[in-house]
């Protein structure tokens, strides 16, 4: 099997996997970074969202062969200690119910706020529309993005 060198959370990692292996499963099964979640496998729910080169990407549908040497950031690398303003906003608002989708929500929100630090309510809704929360903690997700924006701004 081919060998891939990838850059995850600032660390260079080497994995031997088939070229079609989605980044999601490389992170979870091979690198023990299980914060990134499996939800649908077809880029429809957002649970597997990571940052690649600063943009939010659905890792379940990204084959390892196409990652290259671009910097990958997962929920474990968003901050060292949960101090990223989006993580802090999630805590302040007490967003989670079951909590399973929240890493993906946080990764989507943080990439979005990087590009649009003072979004309107409608812009938040559009940005977060791709992430499903089955517990429907949506009102708090929306609120937490607003709180994070105020922390960043």
């Amino acid at each position: 099997m081919p060998k891939y060198n990838i850059n995850v959370n600032g660390v260079s990692k080497s994995v031997d996997v088939a070229e079609d292996t989605p980044l999601l499963w490389v992170l979870r099964d091979h690198l023990d970074l299980v914060g990134t979640k499996y939800g649908c496998g077809i880029a429809q729910c957002g649970a597997c969202t990571v940052h690649i080169g600063g943009s939010a990407v659905r890792s379940c549908s990204l084959p390892i062969a196409s990652v290259g040497d671009k910097a990958i950031t997962t929920i474990e690398g968003l901050s060292e200690d949960g101090s990223h303003p989006v993580q802090q906003a999630w805590k302040e608002v007490d967003v989670p119910q079951c909590g399973y989708c929240q890493a993906g929500q946080i990764m989507t929100a943080s990439a979005f706020l990087d590009k649009n630090p003072s979004p309107s309510s409608d812009e938040i809704k559009t940005a977060m529309h791709g992430n499903i929360c089955r517990c429907a903690a949506y009102t708090r997700i929306h609120k937490a993005v607003e709180v994070a924006a105020s922390k960043l701004g």
Binding site: A18, I42, M128
Partner: protein, 742 residues
């Protein structure tokens, strides 16, 4: 202080022990007494959740650890149940460390998550336990000071005597551990609560936001392999043969095996809570080094399936259910008066039929479980709402002693009823038993949606008689799949409000597996009933709120012991919702719909506001009023309430699983629609303040949401929605052009 009304002796469910490592360990049973001779362990690593299902540890330094007993599926009990203990123990909440009371244990637990009952049933025993522990600490301090315990008071883990001397809990745990468990401790007056009723954040919040391993899918063990199961492609199909040549040649694939014998035997014996009829067929399992390789390997299996039992379609199910409603074969669940006579004498009769589809649960964390089965131990780890059932069934299935089962619960990525069923635990156990390796069974999303225990399609037909402006008869007929409403539901509103009242049910047996889904039966019954009352008010030409209030008047002072709801509490949530939602006082362009419902011991009223966006009606806001007694953790409670309302709106609007030739017609989120951010209404919550014991909250706000929306859509469009999901009827969403005046 008020003495608790609880009658059983505290001796019967609390035991204490000195920990070898220092400190006091209190073991207790929530719902059952301890065996007379068992004692809590002296070593914290030996916590035995078979004899005690929850523990409190008070360390020498005063630190308090509460081992929370119940499975956490997102409903917040891992936070709220320990709050009840901490309140009466009188410690500061921020000094309390909460652990899921199961990890690294010697045995399995007896707790389950279901029916919104954790807080209601734990309300007395958990507070009793905290109060008993507090009294023992006080008694120990009083003995050291040589004073009477009644001269001592406590606050935030510190005991103070009349002279103002103080001792921390940690200072006296050693003595406390040797003392008699006191009788007759008193519980706090709710007015003096310091923790109950305050906002406590999710105890796992730091782990969740940093992506720590918490869930079943995150669990790993040394030497663990992964399993993916190829199940029948349709309900009714069974495996005839398969070719695994290609699969075995796939990278990472270690083995391909067939399972089914053991599970089929279990099904035959009716053991466990096995409801997955796919258990009639053998299944093919791919064992691989990684999840992806297991999932890919499965795609390479060439299997031949043959028809075992009839393959159902949605059209066929609809016809069967309507035939049941039209037929005469019913079981009568409740009968008051004589509906026949009342219908014969009626001035007016209204009859309507309401129809709902199958729904998958769609937990965000797909079903999964870990098993490692050795000669002397059955080690199971993962997300399951009914750990005891699962453990017993696995032991039965493998012909082993249940004492060998070690089941660890993980946090669950949603439950909604799906994880009440242990099918995935039995599957992984059969796999692990065959391959003799630690193994993790992983469902793909497609597996999860197509091997479900679905909310079954249900149809209701409601008929009411009106005579001289009064509702004189009410008949509810239910036609469902595989089973009918159970227990107390026939005694919910409007039972007791209408003299002639009857509930009749019928079902047919399907090979499609069905089960509990958030607020079983009531999740659609509330829609039917509360839509019907709106329509009934329109037919009678009376105010829709007043009709409900007038009916409730008749139930007041009822001596009928079957009555489940309180007319007074229902009246209060209705009136509060009217006031808080600005009912009837909205500007043009805002259309409101009302619904009120009682279930899971809680009373809820909701008002949906619909507005037009580009000519299309959109749910913009839901006002939700809840009476669930004392709210233990308002921050968590409001999250549950909002989630329940939005879940209810979402499934009423979009949720539907159809079948063709036994095969579910959606298998992933590209063809199955769940509510998303842009479709979410604002939810405004109002909690009724009282000092009544807490009741359920995980489910009760979901059922009325669909009716509130349907009633608002009627106001906006003039059209009545009687079938879910509403999105299936775009023609009814059209708003009529206003007539041109002049």
């Amino acid at each position: 202080m008020s003495t608790s009304s609880i009658t059983f002796s505290r001796r019967s469910f609390i035991r204490t022990s000195s920990l070898a490592s220092g400190g006091l360990l209190i073991g207790f049973n929530l719902f059952t007494a301890c065996k007379p001779k068992v004692q809590p362990p002296v070593d914290i690593s030996k916590l035995n959740f078979n004899d005690f299902n929850a523990f409190i540890k008070i360390a020498d330094n005063g630190a308090v650890t509460i081992f929370s007993p119940n499975p956490e599926i997102g409903q917040g009990v891992k936070t709220a149940m320990p709050m009840l203990i901490a309140e009466e123990l009188d410690v500061a909440w921020n000094n309390v460390y909460v652990q899921q009371g199961i990890l690294d244990t010697e045995n399995y637990t007896r707790q389950l998550a279901g029916g919104s009952q954790s807080i209601r049933l734990g309300w007395e025993p958990l507070r009793q336990t905290g109060a008993t522990a507090r009294q023992m600490l006080v008694n120990a301090a009083a003995a050291r000071w040589g004073v009477d315990p009644s001269e001592c008071s406590t606050s935030e883990g510190v005991i103070t005597n009349a002279k103002g001397e103080t001792l921390g809990y940690g200072d006296v745990v050693k003595e406390a551990a040797t003392m008699e468990v006191p009788e007759g401790v008193t519980l706090k007056d709710p007015k003096n609560f310091k923790i109950i009723g305050t906002d406590a954040k999710n105890v796992d919040i730091d782990k969740i936001i940093t992506g720590k391993p918490l869930f079943g899918l995150d669990y790993k063990a040394e030497g663990m392999v992964y399993a993916s199961v190829l199940r029948p492609p349709a309900f009714g199909k069974v495996l005839e043969s398969y070719d695994d040549t290609d699969a075995k040649a796939m990278p990472g694939v270690l083995d391909v095996i067939k399972i089914g014998d053991k599970i089929k035997q279990l099904t035959k014996e009716g053991k466990g809570n096995w409801t997955v009829n796919m258990g009639q067929s053998d299944k093919v399992v791919v064992i691989a080094k990684s999840t992806w390789e297991a999932l890919k390997g499965k795609e390479a299996i060439k299997a031949k399936w043959v028809d075992g039992t009839p393959l159902e379609s949605t059209q066929m199910q609809d016809k069967k259910l309507l035939d049941l409603l039209d037929g005469k074969e019913f079981k009568t669940m409740r009968k008051d008066g004589d509906i026949k006579k009342a219908f014969a004498q009626a001035d007016n009769i209204l009859e309507r039929t309401y129809e709902s589809p199958f729904l998958p649960h769609n937990c965000m964390e797909p079903m999964n479980f870990f098993a490692n089965i050795t000669a002397d131990k059955i080690h199971l780890v993962g997300p399951v709402q009914t750990p005891e059932f699962a453990a017993t069934a696995v032991a039965d299935m493998l012909g082993r002693d249940v004492e060998q089962v070690h089941l660890e619960m993980t946090r669950m990525g949603g439950g909604f009823g799906r994880r009440l069923y242990g099918d995935f635990v039995y599957e992984v156990a059969e796999i692990a038993d065959a391959i003799k390796k630690p193994v993790k069974l992983v469902f793909s999303r497609e597996d999860d949606m197509n091997a479900g225990t679905y909310r079954p399609a249900i149809k209701y037909r409601i008929k009411a008689a009106v005579k001289d402006g009064e509702v004189t008869a009410y008949q509810l007929k239910e036609a469902a799949v595989n089973g009918n409403m159970y227990g107390l539901i026939p005694n919910f509103f409007p039972a007791g409000c209408i003299e002639n009242y009857q509930v009749d049910v019928a079902h047919y047996k399907s090979n499609i597996t069905t089960g509990a889904w958030r607020a079983p039966y009531t999740n659609f019954l509330a829609f039917a009933e509360q839509s019907f009352f709106d329509e009934l008010a329109e037919t009678m030409g009376v105010d829709r709120i007043q009709l409900r209030l007038d009916l409730l008047q008749k139930a007041k002072g009822s001596t009928d012991e079957r009555m489940q709801y309180s007319p007074e509490r229902m009246e209060k949530v209705i009136k509060t919702a009217v006031e808080k939602s600005g009912w009837g006082k909205q500007p043009d362009g805002i259309y409101q719909g009302f619904a009120a419902y009682y279930c899971h011991n809680s009373h809820v009223a909701e008002v949906a506001n619909v507005e037009l966006e580009n000519g299309v009606p959109v749910v913009k806001k839901v006002t939700c009023v809840v009476d669930c007694g004392i709210v233990v953790n308002p921050l968590g409670a409001i999250n549950q309430i909002e989630g329940g309302v939005i879940d209810g709106v979402g499934h009423a609007m979009y949720g539907e699983l159809t079948f063709a030739d036994g095969k579910p017609q959606s298998e992933n989120y590209d063809t199955y629609r769940l509510i998303r951010m842009r479709e979410v209404p604002k939810v405004e919550t109002h909690l009724i303040q009282n000092e009544l014991a807490p009741t359920g909250l995980g489910e009760p706000t979901l059922p009325p949401a669909g009716a509130a929306v349907a009633n608002a859509l009627k106001a906006a469009t003039g059209n009545r929605f009687t079938q879910q999901p509403f999105s299936k009827f775009p023609e009814l969403m059209k708003v009529p052009a206003k007539p041109i005046i002049g």
